[in-house]
């Protein structure tokens, strides 16, 4: 991990000096992880690809602001979250317009496919993604930053431009909605001991 950070720092320094090849290395090293984040935010492969592209273009323009001692991946994640939010907000149709209906739909699926069916069909990810879609862009970003990226509340506040209480409440609301949406899948033999 430390080696990768050192490699990133060296590549960033070269890219800032105008070395396009160095920036290519950074794009190829981080684009897949940014894609996963973007997919969780946008729920669509093509939208996620757009966000990845926007993230790197924005990062390139802001390379001068990157502090050498910072972690490049973390810095990139922050940009990616903001790009995702901008993307969702620019396309209102992308955000779930009827979150309550979606939640009811999801939580009422107890008579739907069994846990085994879902596992075999590889659809747990799909169910989780549907549940994520029921969150607002802000809730989704705050939740993903906390849950997947392990960001602190202070960091979430900084990236999403929120007060501490607002960040905490976004996470609370997100978790509550996720619990409601995923309830039919909880308590099965496949869930944790």
């Amino acid at each position: 991990m430390q080696q990768m950070q050192a490699d990133d720092a060296a590549a960033v320094a070269r890219a800032r000096a105008g070395d396009e090849e160095a920036f290519r290395v950074l794009v190829e090293r981080h684009s897949r992880s940014i894609y996963r984040l973007a997919y969780r935010m946008t729920s669509r492969a093509e939208d996620a690809e757009e966000v990845v592209q926007d993230t790197f273009v924005r990062a390139y323009r802001q390379l001068g602001r990157f502090e050498a001692r910072s972690n490049f991946a973390t810095w990139l994640y922050r940009i990616a979250f903001n790009c995702s939010i901008d993307y969702l907000r620019a396309r209102p149709g992308r955000e779930s317009t009827e979150p309550h209906e979606r939640l009811e739909q999801l939580s009422g699926q107890s008579s739907g496919p069994s846990m085994e069916d879902l596992v075999y069909a590889g659809e747990i990810g799909g169910q989780v993604q549907l549940a994520l879609e029921s969150l607002s862009a802000q809730e989704r970003a705050a939740f993903l930053m906390r849950h997947y990226q392990g960001c602190s509340i202070a960091e979430i506040c900084r990236v999403l431009n929120l007060r501490s209480n607002a960040a905490k409440h976004s996470i609370f609301r997100a978790v509550k909605k996720m619990r409601l949406a995923l309830r039919p899948l909880v308590g099965s033999p496949h869930s944790i001991e």
Binding site: R16, A17, G18, E20, F23, R24, V27, E28, S31, R32, Y35, R36, Y39, R40, A45, E49, V52, Q53, F56, V57, Y60, R61, L63, G64, R65, E67, G122, I124, G125, Q127, V128, Q129, A131, R146, H147, I153, A154, C157, R158, N161, L162, R163, S164, K168, I171, F172, V175, K176, M178, R179, L182, R183, L185, V186, G187, S191, I192
Partner: protein, 264 residues
């Protein structure tokens, strides 16, 4: 602990965001309260499912294809050359030089946008109606510039005072931060307006300074009434590391110099 744990407490406990002192108490309660224990287990199971939710992986050529897309969308090299490249490479050292240029660019922009014609030719004894109109237009432009410079001057002076207040405030969370919050909140709107204008005019570096300033103003405006020592020190370190106070002073000085030259 006699009352049940709330959802919020359970979620905070899961992510380790609660008070460290209360964690053992919550663990003890979960060990003895069946209702809270059930809720806790359900929460853990739900969030474990979230962990299990995988994202469909893109194809093996994804990185290569993405680089091709990104490369095509990157700004042309010449846009990043010259002063900007120099600024990025020698950021702190070149600030004085750059700031002078920024102020000049801004002010020249204002003047150029307001200027409608060259000065009246010497030897014209009686101004024609057109010349009168041009003179009047020049005066209007100068007035407009003075108003803009006064607004900018006020903005930078207030920003500077606010940054000085923050940098010189005693460390610790005992002092009320209300005044600083309110001032930052008041400054935010105009800062955004200036930044947007600078961006639209293509003044990248001036826009960058305003963006850095805006980011600190947001942090101050949205901080709690009483800031804890750690957050406060982090804020000061940011201002310090970005040389923000120095940059604001330099630009402020340039604006004042331009104001003086207009009145002489």
């Amino acid at each position: 602990m006699t009352v049940h744990l709330t959802d919020e407490q359970l979620i905070q406990h899961f992510y380790g965001d609660g008070h460290v002192d209360r964690e053992p108490e919550i663990d003890a309660h979960l060990a003895t309260c069946p209702a809270c224990s059930a809720a806790w287990n359900e929460l853990r199971e739900t969030l474990k499912l979230v962990d299990d939710g995988t994202v469909p992986e893109p194809g093996p050529e994804f990185e290569r294809v993405m680089w091709a897309r990104v490369k095509q969308a990157l700004p042309p090299r010449h846009e990043r050359g010259g002063l900007l490249a120099f600024f990025e490479t020698h950021r702190a050292a070149s600030w004085l030089f750059t700031a002078a240029g920024l102020a000049a660019v801004l002010v020249v922009g204002i003047v150029v946008s307001g200027r409608l014609s060259p000065a009246r030719r010497p030897g014209t004894s009686t101004p024609t109606p057109a010349a009168v109109t041009l003179t009047s237009a020049r005066e209007t432009a100068r007035s407009r510039e003075r108003v803009l410079l006064t607004a900018l001057d006020n903005h930078f002076q207030q920003s500077e005072m606010l940054l000085v207040e923050v940098m010189n405030a005693p460390p610790g969370g005992d002092d009320n931060f209300g005044f600083e919050r309110q001032t930052a909140d008041d400054l935010l709107e105009s800062s955004r307006l200036y930044r947007t204008t600078a961006q639209l005019n293509g003044d990248v570096q001036f826009a960058q300074l305003l963006e850095d300033l805006e980011s600190v103003l947001v942090d101050i405006a949205r901080s709690p009434e009483k800031v804890d020592r750690k957050d406060f020190n982090a804020l000061r370190a940011r201002i310090d590391n970005d040389n923000l106070l120095f940059k604001v002073r330099v630009v402020s000085q340039q604006v004042q110099d331009r104001q003086r030259s207009l009145t002489e």
